[in-house]
Symmetry: C2
Subunit: 331 residues, 2 copies
DNA sequence: CAAGCTATTGAAAGCATTTTCAAATAACTT
DNA sequence: AAGTTATTTGAAAATGCTTTCAATAGCTTG
């Protein structure tokens, strides 16, 4: 029942630990014949190197920590898929942590992260505060941020320029003569929502207009639905921009039940495209953002940092693509 | 830049390693005064125990491996949330692995799992083959399976009795005089789909009828859409049962575009309830399954196995709740 | 044939903990 | 005050690997 160690292999193959270690790690100094002897012993005993012991000896764990707010959004799944695929290629493991509201949770997570001696951490969260970042930095743990523009210059980040996307969209709509544009807050993605608002504001100001139509909404579906209904009392035309698919659906349902025709009266755009945007009727116009790539690229950046190929650019901005579907009449 | 170790703390506090170790682990033999001395040294130096070294010394990593097919389904997100919440409570870490089709991938994952010396593994996958299980067993790694009825009796599992759910549903519908019932295969959840079919068959046979209406469908949305359209050429009435929300949506869209009224002509039921089932119009009737609990319970079972409180029952069957919405006219 | 290389191998130290066992100290007892 | 017991502490071994440095063996070369 006892696990077989490198000692057992050494004894079986009649060589020293050092040699076995060399064989395991593919060192090329060991002679063909001994290599085979060792290989045979390994397969005979079913030996698997103990990654923990290796981690201790090498001072690296080939594990990276991933921090996400919650695992429940569709596109986070895609991010994770991208991350893990790349991790698998480079033989890294991923330790998953979810972070909830509140500073204590952030502290606790940073604590485990440090204790578990991961080689680096990838963060996708609005909730990761400056404090946590500096702590991590002080312990010299490499960080890659996903999907939020880096605040400190020293941070690596992979992101989508949300503000730009919305700025361009609003610009076009202002061009069409549509100036009643609202941006809905998504509590669970507050930073991103703010960036959307920022983009809208920029567009209006560039056109000599002012804008102040950021609608703050408690998080859940029902309340979105209610808040939007209220909004619709004063606004029967224009454009509403939401962040997540489920929010956009709440808007659609609310419109439908208030006799507002989409897209003829009111148009709706969702920022994050998911399969649900196309599965629903009317299909929701949205920006397809490369979620999978967001994950894949950030993991790749991380591996580069760790093998210390110098990372050329600290910030990688991935592109998006706007797709007009059935909830908009302008293109 | 060098990480502070237990030695540094010992020196700072003027005690031996053993004492520091005792303080860290909350042993109650150490005297109040020395405990304080040590605590002070720890905070002063910012010492964090090295979990890797602990893992080596203790022969346990307080890490459990999680294997899932892909992270892209909404309800898997919920499962993960449940898992992680409970893991956090019991101070376990979770290492995430996604498994794709193909035996080589399964082997590779089992290999990393063994090397990384996790204390146990939780598996949610149709693709985890017998082989992998036996390998894991031979290395004496505890396993908990999620959401698939255990095949071997020695396995712990937490699941939903899908067959029963569908059997009951079909029974009711046969009672209503509806016998044109189809079950759609979901390639990515083939086992579950088969269980649904199994339940349907049972219901029909119990009523002295035969049933053979399991529709095999290539995976993606478009092909579901096409296959269902074809099905609708011969079937204008009855019930269609899908597994995932996006599949059910494909059915709805296909029906709509073929002039079939839902629920008046054709009724649609989706097995796994997600928020999208209620966000869509018509709202999709479905079974709300406790995804979060599925994760939470299996992690709890795992912790029990590891603290070896004997786990009382190997199999935990969680309950589901059928909610009739707008895609069905019977209740 | 001695000297000098090179290709292989092994011994031992190091990585950061825990834990056992014995020693030291403290606290009682008589 | 000496003996006994209980409480605290520390030394050292153990956990399973990597890696440096030295040693050995096998060649080559002058």
């Amino acid at each position: 029942m006892k696990r077989v160690t490198i000692y057992d292999v050494a004894r079986e193959a009649n060589v020293s630990l050092a040699t076995v270690s060399r064989v395991i790690n593919g060192s090329d100094v060991v002679k063909e014949a001994t290599r085979n002897k060792v290989q045979d012993a390994i397969t005979k005993l079913g030996y698997k190197p103990n990654a923990i012991a290796q981690g201790l000896a090498l001072q690296r764990t080939t594990t990276i920590g991933l921090i996400i707010p919650e695992a429940s959004f569709t596109y986070i799944g895609q991010i994770i898929n991208g991350l893990l695929d790349v991790a698998k290629i480079y033989n890294y493991n991923v330790m998953l942590h979810t972070i909830t509201e509140g500073i204590t949770d952030a502290e606790k997570i940073v604590d485990v992260i440090i204790k578990s001696r991961v080689d680096g951490v990838i963060v996708y969260s609005d909730k990761m505060m400056e404090d946590s970042i500096t702590t991590l930095n002080s312990y010299n743990i490499p960080i890659v941020m996903i999907a939020n523009k880096a605040s400190g210059e020293s941070l690596c980040s992979v992101y989508i320029d949300i503000a730009k996307a919305i700025r361009e969209l609003c610009n076009r709509y202002i061009g069409y003569g549509v100036t009643d544009i609202a941006v809905l807050e998504d509590r669970k993605n507050r930073n991103s929502s703010r960036l959307m608002a920022h983009g809208a504001k920029q567009a209006f100001e560039a056109n000599g207009l002012s804008w102040n139509n950021y609608i703050e909404i408690p998080n859940e579906y029902r309340s979105t639905y209610r808040f939007v209904r209220k909004y619709f009392e004063d606004h029967r035309h224009g454009l509403v921009i939401a962040y997540r698919d489920s929010q956009a659906m709440a808007v659609l349902n609310s419109a439908r039940e208030n006799g507002i025709a989409v897209p003829d009266d009111m148009e709706v755009v969702c920022f994050v495209d998911t399969k649900y945007n196309s599965a629903v009727r009317p299909m929701i116009s949205s920006f397809s953002i490369p979620s999978y790539d967001l994950g894949a690229v950030s993991m790749r950046v991380m591996t580069k940092m760790l093998e210390n190929d110098r990372v050329t650019d600290k910030e990688k901005c991935l592109s998006y693509l706007y797709t007009a579907r059935q909830t908009t009449k302008h293109h």
